[in-house]
């Protein structure tokens, strides 16, 4: 296992919604080149943890270390400036725009105020090629015309396009069929192999065990387990998720 500094390290992170404690002193760390899975039952606090990393919903308390340095994540802009990108379950794509437009959304290339479509198109196509994407035919298709797997591919490619260090995938396979799930999981593996830190949130333990290096389990706002895939089993993880088992979490 890698002993280098984690790309992201959360220490004693807390978040309350009114009287409800959604995150209770959560510790979490992710390393480059690894797929880190975050699992837990509905309402365990997975989305809240991710929204904090994305800067959409800042944590109330706690320390965030990015490559060992303390940082603040108070806005989506701060997160994306650090190289953290989230691929959401609802995909956050604009159906009425084409693939190139979506991949460059919010960060369009322009020359003296005029969009440089040629440069954007060429970079988008290169990125899809570098991910060995074979399912997308033309980068000028409207996203509305793509299948679920293709949309997921575009959303992941967008995160790669910007050379992000951390790519967070929220339920990337939830809406996909068998073949498309397989393609997306391969893509996730390739992302980590290319040196990025990948966080994957999933309900599907089969997918998690297929792709993850390390598994974190949230149970009612507490991080109840942090294990390497090689040292655990699906039955153990189910135990952690349902609260039947617990493990002291060392960071």
């Amino acid at each position: 296992m890698s002993t280098e500094t984690p790309v992201i390290e959360l220490k004693n992170v807390k978040k309350n919604f009114g009287p409800v404690e959604v995150l209770k002193d959560v510790n979490f760390s992710v390393r480059a080149g690894e797929v880190t899975a975050l699992v837990g039952d509905n309402g365990a606090g997975k989305s809240t943890l991710i929204k904090g990393l994305a800067g959409i919903q800042p944590y109330d308390q706690g320390t965030i270390l990015f490559e060992g340095n303390p940082v603040e994540l108070k806005s989506p802009r701060q997160s994306s400036d650090l190289g953290i990108d989230v691929v959401y379950q609802d995909l956050a794509l604009c159906d009425n725009l084409d693939i190139v437009h979506n991949m460059f959304l919010g960060r369009e290339k322009a020359h003296t105020g005029v969009l440089d479509e040629g440069a954007m198109e060429s970079k988008a196509a290169d990125t899809l090629t570098s991910l060995s994407v074979r399912t997308v035919k033309s980068v000028r298709q409207k996203v509305a015309r793509l299948s679920g797997g293709q949309r997921q591919t575009v959303a992941i490619a967008r995160a790669v396009l910007w050379n992000n260090k951390v790519v967070i995938l929220d339920e990337p396979t939830a809406a996909l069929g068998v073949a498309q799930t397989e393609q997306v999981l391969q893509l996730v593996r390739r992302l980590a192999d290319s040196g990025k830190a990948v966080i994957i949130i999933s309900h599907n333990l089969q997918d998690v065990f297929a792709v993850a290096d390390r598994i974190y389990v949230l149970y009612l706002g507490k991080m109840t387990a942090a294990v390497k895939k090689s040292e655990t089993s699906q039955a153990d993880v189910v135990g952690y998720i349902t609260g039947a088992k617990t493990q002291e979490v060392g960071v």
């Binding site: 959409i56 725009l97 919010g106 322009a110 969009l115 440089d116």
Partner: protein, 410 residues
């Protein structure tokens, strides 16, 4: 380079392939303004057969000036509709701007160029306030602009005075809608449009070549430029025909001044929407505001700017309205906003946001104006005219709803 890979850019293939792709897109529901354009041709044919006056140069020139105000308003509203919002106050904003234009000139002796700036600035300010209430406070635009629609009618009454009428006598303002340009100007206008179109198309081709991307077949550019040249030449020479009732006394020929004004607004607005970051963000916010927000786009700033643009267009529409009537009354602009919204929707701008172009609004404006004008010439009762306009709008909105549902579920 991407052309060595299996990922295409949609520019491969010949002129014929491009044509086939277009037909496939239309069949897939991306019809744009095509139905409106076909409808326009059918309507024009019917009216031309029913009453030959419809095709006379005088009627065509009338049609252009009749539609200019609504079209300008509709172009501005297109920006708002692209966000999935609505601006019911656009008409009264136009009326109020017209009142400020007239009063500043007649009561305070302001020079006309300054009065024009005042009128447009008033529009922009109104748009800013509406945008602020919609984007920052979070009131639905329907309610904000309905409130503004009512309040500004009152303000208009106060400013103009009950039953009042303020005359416009600045010749340049009156000339916009009432005087044609010299014959040569029409041809110069066409030449400028042609050069600008070909120039900008060649520029974007070079930009694509520099970054190693394929271009669309040259044949498409040639085809489009020739279409502009032929259709434009037809329009200009038609409008340059004598249309005065008694040419010996007053000769009336040439393209009305309002035509280049509307064309400049159309070109500038289209450029902003298609070629700038802001324009792209407008489509993104209209398509999926949450996605835009997560991509780091400042959604509320886009909203405010869009309302400012729309209301500035309304200000310009107010000037056109004042020019055409040579006066401003207390009810100016009250009735035109619904026609303008209808124009945009009939032209193919989606009410659900994210889909539509300014040229759609112009074509839709023509459809509305042709129905009005043609039925008037046939001598049908004006009640029927409104009913038909309503029917056409409903038809367009139905098509819009079906297309939007199709693209959401696929």
């Amino acid at each position: 380079m991407s052309n060595q890979t299996n990922i295409q850019t949609g520019n491969e293939g010949s002129f014929l392939d491009a044509g086939r792709n277009y037909i496939a897109r239309v069949k897939g529901g991306e019809t744009g303004s095509l139905p409106a354009l076909l409808g326009l041709m059918i309507l024009a044919t019917i009216f031309a057969v029913a009453n030959p006056i419809f095709l006379k140069p005088i009627n065509f020139a009338n049609l252009l000036t009749q539609t200019a105000t609504v079209t300008t308003l509709a172009m501005g509203l297109t920006f708002v509709l692209l966000l999935g919002e609505i601006d019911l106050a656009a008409g009264v904003t136009a009326g109020l701007s017209a009142a400020f234009l007239a009063i500043s000139m007649s009561n305070y002796g302001v020079a006309w160029p300054l009065a024009v700036i005042i009128a447009i600035s008033l529009g922009m300010l109104i748009g800013f306030l509406i945008g602020l209430l919609v984007a920052k406070v979070g009131i639905p635009s329907f309610v904000v602009t309905l409130a503004a629609f009512l309040a500004f009618q009152g303000l208009q009454l106060v400013v103009v005075g009950k039953g009042g009428l303020i005359g416009i006598d600045a010749p340049p303002i009156l000339a916009i809608m009432n005087t044609p340009m010299p014959i040569a100007f029409g041809w110069i206008l066409l030449a400028v449009i042609f050069v600008l179109y070909v120039g900008s198309a060649l520029y974007s081709r070079r930009q694509r070549t520099t970054s190693g991307q394929l271009n669309k077949p040259m044949g498409i550019l040639v085809f489009r430029s020739l279409t502009i040249l032929i259709v434009g030449a037809g329009f200009v020479s038609f409008l340059n025909l004598e249309r005065g009732a008694n040419p010996a006394v007053t000769s009336l020929k040439g393209v009305p001044y309002v035509v280049p004004i509307v064309l400049i607004l159309l070109a500038a607005g289209t450029f902003v929407l298609n070629r700038t970051k802001f324009g792209r963000h407008v489509y993104a916010v209209g398509g999926n505001a949450e996605a835009a927000r997560r991509a780091g786009i400042q959604v509320s700033r886009v909203r405010i700017k869009v309302f400012m643009i729309s209301s500035s267009f309304a200000g310009i529409a107010g000037i056109l309205m004042a020019s055409r009537q040579a006066s401003v009354d207390a009810a100016a602009g009250r009735s035109i906003v619904l026609n303008a919204i209808a124009a945009a929707v009939v032209g193919g701008v989606s009410l659900f946001g994210g889909r539509g172009r300014l040229s759609d609004a112009v074509i839709g404006g023509f459809v509305i104006a042709v129905i009005d004008n043609g039925l008037g010439l046939i001598g049908l009762a004006s009640g029927l005219n409104l009913a038909i306009t309503g029917g056409v709008l409903l038809l367009a909105a139905t098509a819009d709803a079906i297309t939007s549902r199709k693209s959401r579920t696929s």
